[in-house]
């Protein structure tokens, strides 16, 4: 379906344009690498597209121990930043898993989160890291944990007239994301597993992607990981707990039972990767 493109330069103007029904239903666009396909196929029936690319959100900065990423920052910028690589290796793993380099020059963190694809590589790691989303509306701001923001496949807590301004991610030098898929750059993950170790309170976070109804933390697995350096037996119990807890779909990419086996394997690999990375520093 044809659409018109609006390119506001200020946040206020963008919010006003999205709130104004004149000219038909509108949708915000950031990188567009996912939304444009849905517009082409008519899965999103908007006749007005409001671009966020001229807003001052193409930014990232550290606020003490948190990385604040503007919602329209291209993913490629995160993957190449030395401080991000050191302090948030899991986030870099996940960002590097999204499409190809050319796609990541355009695709954004806010767009990936806002589109809430069931197999998103970014959402699981944001869950494991305990990230929060800052939303902005004409009436003001609100901060929402990623776990509450993503409700189900393609469903978020974003209210009409609201935009994702930034994502705030606490540093986690011991973190990783691992995935399985058929081709690296031209397919989405069958399953993805993110882990992060936090010092206060001490413990591990484990999150899964490619599961139903949406990417999720698995507290049952986390409860089994009581040590900063868990034993092989502990990791095994946690991996099994994660595989038992999650629900999976059978689709063209993988069967339900294959996904379940993948989860336990990937939990083991993710923890090993995070610890190996720490040991090599």
């Amino acid at each position: 379906m044809p659409f018109t493109l609006e390119q506001p330069k200020t946040v206020r103007e963008a919010l006003q344009r999205l709130a104004d029904p004149t000219g038909g239903p509108s949708v915000p666009i950031a990188g567009g690498t996912d939304l444009l396909l849905d517009l082409d196929e008519g899965r999103v029936a908007s006749t007005r597209v409001v671009s966020l690319r001229r807003l001052p959100w193409n930014t990232m900065r550290w606020e003490s121990d948190r990385l604040v990423v503007g919602s329209t920052l291209p993913l490629a910028r995160l993957g190449t930043d030395p401080a991000v690589r050191r302090r948030l290796p899991g986030l870099v793993d996940a960002v590097d898993a999204v499409g190809s380099l050319a796609l990541r020059h355009r695709a954004t963190l806010g767009g990936n989160l806002g589109r809430a694809a069931p197999a998103s590589d970014v959402v699981p790691v944001l869950l494991a890291l305990g990230a929060t989303v800052r939303l902005v509306a004409l009436s003001g701001h609100r901060d929402v944990p990623v776990g509450q923001f993503v409700r189900a496949s393609r469903q978020t807590d974003l209210a009409p007239g609201e935009l994702i301004e930034s994502i705030s991610v606490p540093a986690a030098p011991v973190s990783s994301y691992v995935w399985q898929r058929v081709r690296p750059a031209n397919d989405v993950s069958q399953v993805g597993v993110a882990v992060a170790r936090s010092d206060s309170p001490s413990g591990w976070h484990v999150a899964l992607g490619g599961v139903l109804p949406a990417p999720m933390r698995v507290v049952e697995a986390e409860a089994m990981l009581t040590q900063p350096n868990p034993s092989e037996a502990e990791v095994e119990v946690a991996a099994q707990a994660a595989a038992r807890r999650a629900s999976f779909v059978t689709d063209k990419r993988a069967t339900e039972s294959y996904r379940r086996r993948l989860v336990s394997t990937l939990v083991r690999r993710a923890i090993a990767r995070a610890l190996r990375d720490e040991a090599s520093r």
Binding site: P2, F3, T4, L5, Q7, I29, G32, T33, L36, L37, L39, D40, V49, S51, R53, A76, G99, S100, L101, A102, L103, H105, R106, P184, A185, N186
Partner: protein, 157 residues
């Protein structure tokens, strides 16, 4: 809706052209500017045949709205040889005969030029190949392409 925009394509500032709001850079290049070297493959961002450089960065022109890159510098396969790095990549593909049907070749050459610029002259073959993960060769002629990558890695003779 249709609006005016102008692009600096292959170093030449073009005249202002009228382009529909929802047109992709791929279509503007091919059908308005007559630059047919940039290919349409999947149109879903998976194959890399439409890769161009926008302000020096590898970009999938099939997923880029032309109006969003108004005023940008765009390099297509037609202009790649004016870039010394692009000329080296092109020469490496020639030397290795790294093409079969040739449909993916413009995308590969433009992408490798951009990736090499982004990663620098110290980039390993593995890193360069990683930057080409989004380029598919439907003839599966990857071995010659990998040899061309090695040649590019080794730099000027």
């Amino acid at each position: 809706m249709t609006g005016k925009l102008s692009l600096v394509v292959n170093g030449a500032k073009g005249r202002s052209i009228s382009v529909p709001d929802d047109e992709r850079l791929l279509d503007t290049l091919r059908w308005r500017l007559g630059l047919k070297g940039t290919k349409e493959g999947c149109r879903t961002g998976d194959c890399g045949a439409c890769t161009v450089l926008v302000d020096g960065e590898t970009t999938l022109s099939c997923l880029t709205l032309s109006h969003e890159v108004d005023g940008a510098k765009v390099t297509t396969i037609e202009g790649i040889a004016e870039d010394p790095e692009g000329r080296r990549v092109q020469a490496a593909f020639e030397a290795e005969e790294a093409l079969q049907c040739g449909y993916c070749t413009p995308g590969f050459i433009v992408a490798l030029t951009g990736v090499r610029r982004e990663l620098g002259s110290e980039a390993t073959s593995a890193a360069l190949v990683d930057g080409l993960q989004g380029n598919l060769c439907r003839c599966t002629g990857y071995l010659a392409i990998l040899r061309a990558v090695d040649r590019v890695r080794d730099g000027p003779p």
